[in-house]
Every structure is written in structure tokens, then in C-alpha cells.
């Protein structure tokens, strides 16, 4: 079976030789090609080459079309990205400096015609041509309720959300929802088939249950309404969200969940598995290793954690092994140990 078929089997609960094994090595691509990050990310061909080379060498299932999270801000005019040789590029200047800037913030009419899309499109064309028929191609798309944090900073967004004028907040959210809808459509058209919906405000850890229901849910519904939830993976930016999984499955119909390493994985799996009959047997729990600990773990400790996770997730299938932020400081020996263990303990005998 191809990795794409293995992923579909895991979602559908049909037989497969093993669980899907996902890995998000992003900034490591520059190191793989021996390039500085600024040069690496300047050309979509580099990003595609880095992804393909790392996947071929290490053997995991997926490739990423994501450059860096802050890239979405470039569509709104951000031109200052802080590069680092030892970590992810970061937004260097917020495009919304005061609430007055919200009124003039512009969503591009056609994001695929925007310069910020050009290199992504180049990357996607190569990935689709090389592995599109056999491997999952992941895209990362930020929810309307969370995108303002990239545009104005998390504390300023929290301030506007909690204490600012509702009409201004809703104007910003409407623009962000419009952008989300265009971006997800563009990624689908370009061939991405795993759409990681980054929605930290979709976790009660961020806003509490009450505000999750009154604020986050309605905006997520608006994000997803035009394009549907095909290929969508619910991800709260590493924040735990077990307590809302059932509601997300019931109200948003998203059945694939990328569980925080801080959450109880067994509990998440129970919640998702319990709803499978109502979802036509389709659903997936993605167990995510605490890869920040992998910086200091030994290879043996890494293996032990992968074993623990697989033993917890594998019964009844519908389970994927995945990674979180994969910092560049993780020793390669631990990455290899993690993947070896995932293939070993993720196999169905």
C-alpha cells in the first residue's frame, strides 16, 4: 500500500500493514540542502527539494507545503520576517499596529495571484508531480479566530477580543474568514490533501468552554462552510482540546484530531472511537509525541515513548503517529529512533 492508501485505511478503519507515520520537519530542510534559511525559503523549489529529500531518506509518510507559519501575514503586507539559523522564521513586524489599521486591511481578491503565493505554488507543483499520487501532501491554514494573532500579536488580539468593540473585532474576523476560505480553496486546487486547520482558539484552554461555544464555534463554522471539511485536521497549536472533541465532531463534522502532547491521549482516542459509528466509521486520532522533550531524551527514551503511544493508540485502529513542532535542536539520532520505533510498534501483525 502507498502511504496515501495507509492514511485512508486508518481513517476508514480498513486493513493496513501499519499505522500512518507523519513527521513535520520544516526548517531542517535548509540544513538538508546546506542552505541558509533565508535562501532556502526564498524559492519554492528548495522547499520541495528539502521535503522530498528528507522524506526519502527518513521514510515517513508525508510531505509539507508549509514554509513557515508567519507566511500567511505576507498576504496582508508583512515584509519583515525574522530568520534564524536554529529555528523557525517568525513575523518580524505586525501589519496591524493600531485598531485603525483593521479598516484598511485588505484580503487579496485572488490569493493565487499574490506574490506571497508564487513560491508556495511552485513548491506544490513539484510535490504534486513527484509524490501527489502516493503520499499525503500537508498544508497548514490558520483559522479566522487565530489569524489575528499573526497580524497584530497575540496579546493585542486577546485585548481586542476580550475588551474591544465587537464591530471592529467582527470586521477583522470577517476578513480573516474570507482569507481562510480563499487559502483553503487554493491549497485544495494545488493538490494538498491533508489540510491542518490551525485553530488555537478552538481549544477551551485558550478561551474557556463558554467562549468556545459563543465565539470560536460560529467562526469555525463560517471558515469551513464554503469548502467543507474534506481533508481537514483539527489542530489547536499544541494546546489540549479533549473536552471539545465531541462537540467538534458533532457540530463541525471534523473527525480527524491532532492531539496535544499535554492532553490525555487515551482519553482522546476513547472520545473519538466512541463517535465512529455515528460518523460512518470514519475518524482518526493523531497521537503527537512531545518532541520538545526529544531535545534532551536519549534514543532509548524516545523509543520508549513511541512504544507507549502506539500501544495506547493502535487498538481498534483509526490511529496515526505524528510529531509536534520538531525543533531543530533535536539530535538526528532521536529522529531516526522515533521513526524506527513508529514503524516497529505501529505495525499490525
Amino acid at each position: 500500500m502507498t502511504p496515501l492508501e495507509i492514511l485512508l485505511a486508518a481513517i476508514n478503519g480498513t486493513p493496513a500493514p501499519r499505522i500512518p507515520i507523519f513527521c513535520n520537519l520544516l526548517d531542517q530542510g535548509a540544513r538538508e540542502l546546506g542552505m541558509h534559511q533565508r535562501d532556502y525559503y526564498a524559492n519554492g523549489e528548495n522547499v520541495a527539494a528539502g521535503q522530498l529529500k528528507m522524506r526519502a531518506r527518513l521514510g515517513y509518510d508525508n510531505v509539507w507545503s508549509l514554509f513557515y507559519v508567519g507566511k500567511e501575514a505576507e498576504f496582508f503586507g508583512c515584509q519583515n520576517i525574522l530568520y534564524a539559523e536554529d529555528g523557525s522564521p517568525n513575523v518580524g513586524e505586525f501589519v496591524i499596529k493600531s485598531w485603525d489599521d483593521i479598516a484598511t486591511l485588505e484580503v487579496p481578491d485572488d490569493i493565487t495571484a499574490h506574490p506571497a503565493w508564487a513560491e508556495t505554488a511552485k513548491c506544490m507543483r513539484i510535490l504534486r508531480a513527484e509524490v501527489g499520487a502516493t503520499h499525503p501532501i500537508c498544508a497548514y491554514i490558520t483559522a479566522s479566530s487565530s489569524l489575528p494573532a499573526l497580524l497584530m500579536g497575540m496579546d493585542k488580539w486577546m485585548e481586542l477580543l476580550l475588551t474591544g468593540p465587537a464591530d471592529l473585532r467582527d470586521l477583522l474576523l470577517a476578513k480573516c474568514a474570507e482569507f481562510f476560505q480563499k487559502e483553503v480553496a487554493a491549497y485544495r486546487a494545488a493538490g494538498a490533501n491533508v489540510l491542518v486547520y490551525s485553530t488555537p482558539f478552538g481549544s477551551a484552554y485558550f478561551v474557556g468552554r463558554k467562549r468556545f461555544e459563543s465565539f470560536s464555534l460560529p467562526w469555525m463554522k463560517r471558515d469551513l462552510a464554503p469548502g467543507g471539511v474534506g481533508g481537514i485536521v483539527y489542530y489547536c497549536g499544541m494546546a489540549p482540546f479533549n473536552e471539545v472533541i465531541a462537540q467538534v465532531m458533532d457540530e463541525l463534522d471534523i473527525n480527524i484530531h491532532y492531539i496535544s502532547p499535554l492532553a490525555n491521549l487515551a482519553e482522546a482516542k476513547r472520545i473519538i472511537d466512541a463517535r465512529l459509528p455515528a460518523k460512518g466509521g470514519k475518524g482518526l486520532t493523531c497521537g503527537v509525541i512531545d518532541d520538545i522533550k526529544m531535545i534532551q531524551w536519549t534514543a532509548e527514551e524516545t523509543r520508549a515513548e513511541v512504544k507507549r503511544m502506539c500501544e495506547m493508540g493502535k487498538p481498534n485502529g483509526h490511529f496515526l503517529f505524528g510529531t509536534g513542532v520538531m525543533p531543530m535542536a533535536i539530535p538526528e539520532a532521536n529522529i531516526i529512533a522515533m521513526l524506527d520505533a513508529a514503524f516497529e510498534y505501529g505495525a499490525f501483525s
Partner: protein, 224 residues
């Protein structure tokens, strides 16, 4: 009466309702409570209550932490103007986000909390070079250097807390200041703070405020 006021204030803070919190404060003052009472009997206990809630209440959340700290800081600032005598501050902290990092939510929560706990706070802003943390701590006669980092490379890299520790060592200042850190990476690996040479960390902004206050008090006891 005070119990009723504390309850009403806590409810407003819990609902992240700033206007309601201020309404409680002004009503309490109209009933005769002093500015000192508001800070020491209402605001500070409310922060402590919220800290307890973090472990007790599964629905305690980041929005509440943020608003608790912001409301507490604003109320305290307004009350301080009305104090009969200038209050004695517990100590001084210089705080900023590490070089290369613009995430400032955690820093703001800690700052708000510290202000309400009567600690002087010097905000160095975001993307702060390590040398500046030390220079400002010296110039402002602070006891604590607080480095916030939201990304793994800014938390563990060579231009963050690790370099601050190195500078303190090189300049013979390690006995003079305590170095504390905060931010998401430390939540995922609770021992990470030690690897960057920090003296302490806390899982959230409110707990960080208390940890810093305890640390300053400890330093003062040691100095006696």
C-alpha cells in the same frame, strides 16, 4: 461586607468582565473601603484565587489569566494614586522576550500580575538582546531578570536565557540577580529551564508572579 466584595470582584474577573470588576471596586470605595484595602484585601486575594482555580477548575483558561492580570494591574495602578502613603514595593524585575521572539502575551500576564503584587516592573519589550537584560538589571537595581520565549529556538538558543546566564557568570553577577524564564517550550519539558541556566520557571503567568515574589523575598532574607 468584604467577603461580598471579594466574591463580586472574583466573579467579574472569572467572566473576564473588566467593566464589572471596576464597578465592584468603585462601589466598594463608595461604601468606605480604602485604596489599600482594595489592593490588599480584594485584588491580591483574587490573583491567589485564580492561581488556585488553575489546578481546581478544568475550565480555567488563558483568557482568564490575561484578564485577571490586566484588570488587577489597572485597578492597582489606580488605587496606588489614592494610597495614604507611597507603598513599599517588594522588589524590581526587568522583563522582556528573548532575542528573535515577538510573542508578548505571557510577558503581559506576568507583568500585570507582578504590578498587582506590588513589584516594580521594567518592561524591556520584545526581541531583547541578552546583554540588554543584564545592563538594564544593573542600571535599574533589579533583583530578577525574566526572559520570556514562545519558540523553542528562542527559549533554548544562544541568544536567549542561556546567553544571559553566561553574561552574568562572565561579569561576576550571578549572586546579584536571579534568572527566571517562561513560555510554551518550558511547559512541554519541565526540566528545560535548568538546561538554559535559569533559576526558576512557572507554568503560567499568574504562578510566575508568585514565584518571582517568593524569590525576591528569599533573596532579601539571604541578604539579612
Amino acid at each position: 461586607m468584604i467577603d461580598k466584595i471579594i466574591k463580586a470582584y472574583n466573579e467579574a474577573v472569572f467572566e473576564t468582565d473588566k467593566e464589572a470588576a471596576f464597578a465592584v471596586v468603585y462601589a466598594a470605595m463608595a461604601e468606605g473601603l480604602s485604596a489599600e484595602d482594595i489592593v490588599f484585601k480584594v485584588v491580591i486575594p483574587a490573583i491567589e484565587e485564580m492561581m488556585a482555580n488553575i489546578t481546581r477548575d478544568p475550565d480555567a483558561n488563558l483568557a482568564q489569566h490575561f484578564m485577571t492580570a490586566q484588570i488587577a494591574a489597572e485597578v492597582t495602578e489606580k488605587m496606588l494614586e489614592k494610597f495614604q502613603q507611597p507603598p513599599e514595593m517588594i522588589g524590581r524585575v526587568v522583563i522582556g522576550t528573548a532575542a528573535g521572539d515577538l510573542h508578548s502575551l505571557g510577558k503581559r500576564i506576568v507583568m500585570g500580575c507582578l504590578k498587582a503584587l506590588m513589584v516594580d516592573v521594567v518592561d524591556l519589550g520584545v526581541n531583547v538582546p541578552p546583554e540588554r537584560f543584564v545592563d538594564e538589571a544593573l542600571a535599574r537595581e533589579a533583583q530578577i531578570i525574566a526572559v520570556s520565549a514562545m519558540m523553542v529556538h528562542t527559549a533554548t538558543g544562544e541568544n536567549g536565557a542561556r546567553r544571559v546566564r553566561q553574561i552574568l557568570r562572565e561579569r561576576g553577577l550571578e549572586d546579584r540577580f536571579r534568572l527566571v524564564v517562561g513560555g510554551a517550550p518550558y511547559r512541554f519539558d519541565n526540566e528545560l529551564y535548568q538546561s538554559v541556566g535559569a533559576d526558576g520557571w512557572a507554568a503560567d503567568g499568574l504562578s510566575a508572579g508568585k514565584m518571582i515574589v517568593d524569590m525576591i523575598r528569599g533573596m532579601k532574607r539571604e541578604a539579612v
